[in-house]
């Protein structure tokens, strides 16, 4: 995973609330056995019609969306299925951060593990972002701040260890493997329970 320090980009806005992971990547694409290439299927049923032609009214098909790395979405983004294919698809598409007032638990956890930054902001900041699609926003992970083009900066919460991993491009698995001795001790102490 590449370290993340600062993301500066125009935003794409999807104001719908409760955008679930079935919309981000429908189940029929989950029969893949790799992580690559899912970006072209991101939001498929909103992005393309039955013949596969782009729907011109969908935001990602509009020229202004090209190159945008920050997705601003309605409350409770990423709800539903635990499929990690959702952050894989968004990253492969080109997004590097998702901003909302609420981000679903499993999606947030999966995003952090792949370098897609989940940013939760207050209602006022969110309202401004919804009302100003395409605004250039800066998300600075070193200061935990999201800065609007107006100069207004807001802090966003992020779990300390996940932040450390993102800033340094560190993999959590390495840390867990280092706990091997403690895990073995735990297993020995709980032997009875293990076989109950």
């Amino acid at each position: 995973m590449q370290p993340i320090r600062k993301i500066e980009s125009r935003t794409v806005v999807m104001p719908s609330t409760n955008i679930d992971t079935d919309q981000i990547i429908p189940a029929r694409f989950l029969t893949t056995t790799t992580k690559v290439g899912l970006g072209k299927q991101a939001f498929t049923d909103w992005r393309y019609d039955a013949s596969g032609a782009p729907r011109p009214d969908f935001i990602l098909n509009q020229p202004a969306s090209a190159g945008c790395e920050i997705l601003v979405a309605g409350r409770n983004f990423g709800c539903g299925s635990s499929r990690e294919h959702a952050p894989w698809a968004l990253l492969d598409y080109g997004f590097r951060a998702v901003v909302s007032t609420e981000i679903a638990d499993i999606f947030r956890s999966n995003s952090l593990k792949n370098g897609l930054l989940p940013v939760v902001v207050d209602e006022t900041t969110h309202r401004w972002l919804l009302d100003n699609p395409g605004a250039t926003v800066t998300i600075d992970l070193e200061s935990n701040q999201l800065t609007l083009p107006t100069g207004v900066a807001v802090k966003f919460p992020i779990e300390a260890f996940a932040r450390f991993c993102l800033l340094n491009g560190t993999d959590e698995l390495g840390y867990l493997l280092e706990q091997s001795a403690a895990i073995t001790r735990f297993e020995q102490a709980h032997n009875e329970q293990a076989h109950a």
Partner: protein, 475 residues
């Protein structure tokens, strides 16, 4: 001693390393369930890093999501039609052999939906931590386990270390008093709960369902409740184990036996919230006045009593978009709406008692003309039981399709699909856009309401067909 909640007891028993401000807890996982869709990339990671599965004895794999339910495909008489699904099935087979993981694979008579076979095998037990790369893992919380869905990166972490890095979630009590009326099921109850707290009301929480209405439920019904915790945003839902739980587990293949059983039950009896323990949030629900429920929109919180009307929400663009997808109008009555497909099955409602309930409604009736009815048992074991009890014959005599076990029409990735624009009355858990097929319109209900719709071809109050029967949901 500080009074503790059920969740706190299970959590604290599994902390290998407690959390600090800088690092999450290292949480030990007792049981890791694996399926074909969310595991291939995790096994690839292990292979790339030269790692082994740390505890093959705590890992159990099956195939359910992308597997066909057509017997000819399941038993290899014809190739699996969805080619990528066939590859995925082969891949899990290969991975389990290479890494030494027990697999209840496509030909196994013990195969089934991952959240149905865990309990069925007795692998799901009170006080365990249970994970699976699937959001409906919360189902296992019905036994007093702490069970939650994880992503594929975490699947790899658990395979390699039997542990996860977790921050301690908040706790919510959903207190349910009263008694469910005849024809009102656990499915109706959980839909009402989701309607009450909303689809993100449980975000950041582990829910404990408690109260007299919960204690009166069978394990099948408790699983239906915990299963849909994620539909309220909660990763896990739990119910304290009791005599009903112990009776369910006794004698199952992977449950403790003999003296081990007695010791286990003694330990399990401690797994309840102490008097005076504090929850971060408490919600009260009265079960007495609940009606059969039905969803009308594109998330499970968009739910009304079956006799109700589609809510009117002027100026709510998201509501309007959802109704446009569903082809429904604000203010419209749902009863009597013509439907084209009925699905009975899934990890929410694919257990034997669900099939019994559907059969009692359908017995002696025919499926309405032009309606496709798919009835899919949650496991091969349930399939055999349903056949032995004559339920399968009731379904096929009525004109329904009776299939091999699997996730089937709950998730449009195995060939069982609802066509664009069709209304599907379904016992599954998600009415998201496209969930049952591109353009499919899903109405979530109980098995009784699904069976009633199969007979009439319309949205129907199941109580119209349940008059002579008492408390059928508890049979």
């Amino acid at each position: 001693m500080t009074a503790k909640t059920l969740f706190e007891k299970v959590w604290e028993q599994h902390e290998v390393v407690p959390e600090t401000s800088d690092t999450p807890a290292v949480l030990y996982i007792d049981l890791h369930l694996v399926h074909e869709v969310t595991s291939p990339q995790a096994f690839s990671l292990l292979r790339a890093q030269g790692l082994k599965v740390r505890r093959t004895d705590r890992t159990l794999a099956t195939m359910d999501h992308s597997t066909p339910t057509d017997p000819d495909e399941v038993f290899g008489r014809v190739p699996i039609k969805v080619e990528s699904a066939a590859r995925q099935v082969k891949e899990l087979d290969k991975n389990c052999r290479e890494f030494g993981v027990e697999l209840l694979g496509l030909g196994s008579d013990q195969r089934g939906i991952v959240h149905i076979i865990g309990p069925e095998q007795g692998a799901t037990q009170p006080g365990k931590t249970i994970v699976c790369g699937d959001s409906h893992t919360a189902t296992h919380g019905a036994f007093g386990a702490l069970a939650f869905g994880i992503g594929t990166t975490e699947v790899g972490q658990v395979l390699a270390t039997q542990c996860l890095l977790q921050r301690r979630p908040k706790t919510m009590a959903v207190e349910i008093t009263g008694t469910l009326a005849d024809g009102v099921t656990a499915k109706d109850l959980i839909l009402a709960v989701i309607g009450e707290i909303g689809v993100s009301g449980g975000t950041g929480y582990v829910i404990e369902y408690r109260g007299s209405a919960i204690e009166a439920l069978s394990l099948d019904e408790r699983m239906t409740i915990c299963n849909m915790s994620i539909e309220a945003g909660a990763r896990a839902g739990m119910i304290a184990p009791d005599e009903t739980t112990f009776a369910y587990l006794k004698g199952r293949r992977m449950a403790p036996q003999g003296a081990d059983w007695d010791r286990a039950v003694e330990r399990w009896r401690q797994l309840k919230t102490d008097p005076g323990a504090r929850f971060d949030h408490v919600v009260h629900i009265d079960a007495n006045n609940l009606e059969p429920m039905i969803t009308y929109g594109t998330n499970p919180g968009m739910v009304v009593p079956i006799g109700g009307t589609v809510p009117v929400r002027p100026g709510d663009a998201v509501h309007a978009k959802s109704l446009a997808y569903m082809g429904l109008t604000a203010g419209e009555r749902l009863l009597g709406k013509p439907i084209q497909v009925v699905f009975v099955g899934s990890c929410t409602n694919g257990r034997l008692s669900d099939l019994q309930l559907a059969a009692r409604v359908m017995k002696g009736h025919k499926v309405a003309r032009g309606v496709r009815v798919l009835i899919v048992p949650g496991s091969q074991h349930i399939k055999r039981e349903a056949e032995a009890l004559g339920l399968a014959k009731i379904f096929t005599d009525a004109g329904a399709e009776w299939r091999e076990s699997g996730c089937s029409m709950c998730i449009g990735m195995n060939g069982d699909l609802v066509d664009k624009g069709q209304y599907s009355v379904s016992t599954s858990n998600r009415n998201f856009e496209g969930r049952q097929g591109t353009g499919a319109r899903t109405l979530l209900v109980s098995p009784a309401a699904a069976a009633a719709a199969a007979i009439t071809g319309r949205v129907t109050d199941p109580r119209d067909f349940l008059h002579p029967l008492q408390a059928v949901a508890h049979s």
